[in-house]
Amino acid sequence: MIEKLAQLHPEIALFAATCIVMVLGLAKSSFWRGMSVWVTGLGLVAALVLSFFSPQTDGMLPNSLPYLKAMIAAIGLMILPLMGGTVDRWYERTVGRGASFDPLRVTRGEFYAFYLLSLMGVMLCVTADDLIWLFLALELTSLPTYIMVAMSTPRLRSQEAGVKYFFLGALSAATFLYGFAMLYGATGTTQLQDIAIHFRTEGMGLIGTLGLVMALIGVSFKIAAAPMHFYTPDVYQGAASPVSAFLAFAPKAAGFVVMIQLLSTVGWGWGEHGIALPEALRITLWVIAAITMTFGNVLALLQSNAKRMLAYSSIAHSGYMLVGLLVGPGQGPIAGNGLGAAMFYLLCYGVMNLGAFAVLACLEKRDEHGELVEIETVEDLRGLHAARPGLAWAMTLCALSLLGMPPLLGFWGKLGLFTSGISAGEIGLVVIMGLNSAVAAFYYLRLVRAVMLDTRDEDMDRPALTDMFGRRVAAGLSAVGVLVVVIWAGQLQAASDHATEVNPRIRQFNERVVEAEETPVIESIARND
């Protein structure tokens, strides 16, 4: 009990901040309401610091807490300045002009509270060692995001996106819940470690395989992978750009962490050389990864709306990261650590994707009703270099990094995925990934060409720079991050590899079973008689 609490310090910090933020959001004075974003930031900083002191756990990934939680808190901290002013902007102006304050009409406190709760859900996915816990953590990650999408702008589109996101999310939740139920049915326990031991001693069986496949398909909604990716462009387009940037990171991180936890119960000790997943799962993941990256990239090519393009690219990036999951932790001397590569790529993706959305969020234009809205299309970005060179460079750096251009962060992330894929012998998938990266170059370079090379027609009105300074800070942070984090890429990659080492107790369990073949595990005797 107490040891478990020691693992949860970052979450507790976030929860404390959540409570304070919700109270502050209802404060009568606008100064205290404005403090809510700072308290959110403070909570995230506290969580970041505390996560470095996270102990080793006894779960599936014993060393994962410091790296993964720190990554979640750090990216959350980077997205936070972008979030500023997303909700309540117009209402605060009305109050500023002397209208009386109605607590029912402000949503700022809830918005930041949901932001923190969602990040807390992702962290809880990391700490989880039990199916029930995993289920609750995944729901805690996604339930707040549904509301965040719906309330991110006052436009009808956002609410429709929120409803769509919610309904498909509920479908996916039911799917992975059914998968979890099957896993429990196959093993009689919800503890991931006990499930892993059961799978190793008694095999997976039909129900176990079915459960795991259903759970993976359900969770693929969170990471925006096939077959549950269809919502992505609509939801990202409907939500305000800051919320889209958040959606591209938090649920994805949660989904990948849960996938790793689930897959490590089976382990990567199967197949011909004892370094692959069981065949049924391997084929499932292979197909999901191939379809996801191809679908995402090909459809991104056809988009003229930058937000939809980034949404499809988000699908494609999930496909890349799935390659790492397929490879596994690299048992034996020949295979690279695919899990480490995927988790490092998640960090890279969080940093570079933020910048692309932040640039979109920084620019505004008048819509047909004369209201200022965030720009969305590639057309709006044309000639940005002449007007706003800083933003244009941020967009260029992030797009090139997303593409995987050598000196930038995205390249180092992708390099790890490629090498781990090759070392595990997944040549076919690596070739598909390479082809996809080439296809992706077309649309990322189109973004770069629009902002850097194209000139704006004289008769078109210029997108105005938003008055929210935080958004420019976020764009700057991301652009600088793409350049600077490269310096520590080696250390981060090593930390990520270390974090994703599968529990040695589970890995050595096979050997112990072989030794103890004459005296099998006691529970299994009890169960069979």
């Binding site: 607590p103 095999g203 096979n510 069979n528």
Partner: protein, 152 residues
Amino acid sequence: MVKAGPVTDRAPIDSPDSGVRPRMLLAFDQSAYLPILLIIMMAIAFAVGNIGVSLILGPRREGDVKSITYESGMNPLGTARKRFNVRFYILAMTFLVFDVEIIFLYPWAVSFAQIDPRSPDGSLFLGRVLFFLFTTVVAYVYAWKKGVFRFD
């Protein structure tokens, strides 16, 4: 390196060999369900009997008052198709919190009865559930401050 996977040849639970076990484990004491069956039958008999008896014995007078919708003694206002105020839905949602809270109280109540009243665990056990109830109260205070229960 040792190859993972099934190392014992014991039948997995979904194999036909183990088909006996579920039947054995899931068999229940059928006689325990007889009272439930009797209750259901009594309920049906009571409902059908009352309607039947009132059909046979009851006086029959038609009239305006008789034909209007029964609204628990109140005079019905307007049509049934009128849209509900959205506040009702909000109240319904806040009710859901209590609804779910009760589920958690059941296992607590069952195990609380087994605790020795003189042991120190009892007060700790009670304190935990009181804290749990308190968190709901906090949520309600928040909803109240937010103005959810204002009907103006």
